[in-house]
């Protein structure tokens, strides 16, 4: 009989204990705590998916909330009940009579974000480093302006509220597992290695036969898909969606998670996402009671500065903890 490798047993333990946690959490915690756990999960999806774009292939993208907004709005429009659609939105005929279940709506949202990434990736990914960061920032602003002004579909700056509260912890958990699984599979495949190689030295990567431009576009689109899904989950968790939710501040938060965790490390993105979103959420009631807003942000910035000074490659560097990886030699 073939023995199951140790690291695979760990995967199983993690997935199972996560499921047990979700089960217990749903039956014991109140709505408020549950919503915090949901947000933590959504941040994990965002950080781990940005890690594909930013960590693996080294594309410094600030456009993640833009993709999230596209996915979020797309999903919201699709799940919005037909009666409300007639009242609030002016949609084209076929769309105004359509209300999809959550899963297909989420998937369509993710695919739309991904397609957008292909379209903007082709011109934008010819840029590098700071120029790419500025261009993706421009993309984020374009998305925000479009959403704000396309009132017939998005209700403009008011946003859409009264969305069905479809997101619960099982949905978020399932997508966290899928995001982790997909990026793990990629990282330890030949394709993932080529992404890391492109990040490290594009010229040498080209010499061994990787397709530079195509790999870059694919990694942007992959990250965008999960950002779109996260956007849909987010919208149906807070049951409202406004253009202001997808701001540069959010982009900054996700980038910080990837950098602190270690560019390219999935475990790092995971840990940093849990750490930072918990800090921000836990400090919110404290901030309110002390009437001193921003303590969470200050603490977050402080951690970032300390990490950059004492551990510039992030908590994990590019690597994963040894017990989770296959022993290849």
């Amino acid at each position: 009989m073939k023995r199951i490798p140790l690291h695979q047993i760990w995967y199983f333990v993690f997935v199972l204990s996560g499921a047990v946690f979700v089960f217990i959490a749903r039956s014991t915690f109140n709505e408020y705590i549950l919503s915090i756990i949901n947000f933590v999960g959504i941040y994990i999806i965002l950080a781990v998916s940005l890690n594909i774009t930013n960590g693996f292939t080294g594309l410094f993208s600030l456009g993640h909330p833009g993709f999230m907004a596209i996915g979020g709005y797309m999903t919201s429009v699709l799940t919005f009940p037909v009666a409300k659609k007639a009242m609030f939105l002016e949609l084209p005929g076929w769309l105004s009579h359509l209300a999809l279940p959550f899963l297909p709506a989420l998937l369509i949202g993710g695919v739309c974000a991904s397609l957008t990434a292909f379209v903007i990736g082709v011109p934008v990914l010819r840029l590098r480093g700071h120029y790419l960061a500025v261009a993706t920032l421009g993309f984020l602003i374009i998305v925000q302006v479009l959403i704000t002004n396309w009132e017939s579909v998005t209700r403009g700056p008011l946003g859409m509220n009264g969305l069905p509260a479809l997101t619960h912890l099982w949905w978020v958990y399932a997508w966290v597992v899928i995001t982790l699984y997909v990026s793990w599979k990629i990282k330890f495949s030949s394709y993932g290695r080529s992404m890391l190689a492109i990040r490290e030295d594009p010229l040498a990567a080209q010499c061994v036969g990787t397709r530079l431009f195509r790999t870059r576009v694919v990694s942007l689109a992959l990250g965008a898909f999960f950002a779109g899904i996260a956007g849909g989950l987010w919208a149906h968790l807070v049951t409202a969606i406004t253009p202001a939710s997808f701001s540069l501040v959010l982009a900054f938060h996700i980038v910080v998670m990837v950098v602190v965790g270690g560019s390219g490390s999935i475990s790092g993105a995971f840990v940093a996402a849990v750490l930072f979103s918990t800090i921000t959420e836990l400090f919110r009631p404290l901030e309110e009671s002390l009437d001193a807003y921003g303590i969470g942000e200050i603490l977050m910035a402080l951690i970032l500065i300390l990490i950059l000074i004492y551990r510039p490659t992030g908590i994990f560097g590019t690597r994963e903890p040894g017990f989770l990886t296959a022993k290849s030699t």
Binding site: A205, C207, T210, T329
Partner: protein, 241 residues
């Protein structure tokens, strides 16, 4: 195997190669020497598809091409697939990846798992240090070990023609001797080499034939053994008087 016919290459607005021709026969070691800015690196990068010539043609004939094929307009990843691998100047090690991952990425275009495992064993036999450090990150290796890793990575694509850009750059004399004897061994195993070097004596001693490049044009060419005694070469590149 390789025939370059009167290529002109611009980098930005600078006319770097002004009509260069050369050829490499199967099984040969050919070296390319010349001063700084002569265009040596540009020639190798043009062959490997990283740069495009504005004029001229490059013909390649390997077991993977159908007869003699013009590769002057073919993208880099396709050229690697045709059996020409470029080992870039400054090594281009993927410093965050392990030594083994660095080597495995050299086989990125290959699907034959057994062949890859054979070649991994072969590279580890040529450079034992790489095998013993397979789990270390590429960036933690010394300069000489990184050069070995770069050559080993290039071999993992099982090239028929290997082009090397300044393999001796920044290495101590003993390590260079060691490296060059391995290059000779790689050649004996059937890989054709095209070598760009600033260490002209080493290059002339290792290679069968040598081209001397001067500011974008071929100044001299011939058998290395003959060029080593050539007065002009002695004066310009070998520090002779």
């Amino acid at each position: 195997m390789l025939k370059i016919d009167d290529i002109h290459v611009y980098r930005g607005r600078t006319h770097v190669l002004k009509g260069v021709s050369l050829h490499v026969q199967q099984g040969e070691i050919v070296s390319l020497i010349g001063g700084n800015g002569a265009g040596k690196t540009t020639i190798l990068r043009t062959i490997s598809g990283l740069l495009r010539p504005s004029r001229g043609k490059i013909f390649l004939k390997t077991s993977k091409t159908s007869g003699e094929t013009d590769i002057s307009r073919v993208p880099a990843e396709t050229i690697t697939g045709l059996g020409v691998t470029h080992c870039p100047e400054g090594r281009g090690i993927f410093s965050q990846l392990s030594v083994k991952e660095n080597l495995m990425i050299g086989a990125y275009l290959r699907k034959d798992k057994e062949g890859i495992a054979d070649d991994y064993a072969r590279v580890c036999a040529l450079f034992p240090i790489l095998g013993s450090r397979s789990r270390q990150t590429g960036g933690s290796l010394s300069g000489g070990e990184q050069e070995m890793l770069a050559v080993g990575r290039a071999l993992m694509s099982r090239p028929e023609l290997l082009t090397l850009d300044e393999p001796s750059l920044g290495l101590g004399p003993i390590i260079v001797d060691n490296l060059f004897s391995v290059l000779a061994e790689i050649n004996r195993q059937g890989v054709t080499l095209l070598l760009v070097e600033q260490n002209a004596i080493k290059a002339l001693k290792l290679s069968h034939r040598t081209y001397v490049l001067e500011t974008g044009r071929m100044a001299l060419s011939g058998l290395s053994a003959a060029l080593i005694d050539n007065e002009k070469v002695k004066k310009a590149y070998l520090g002779g008087t």
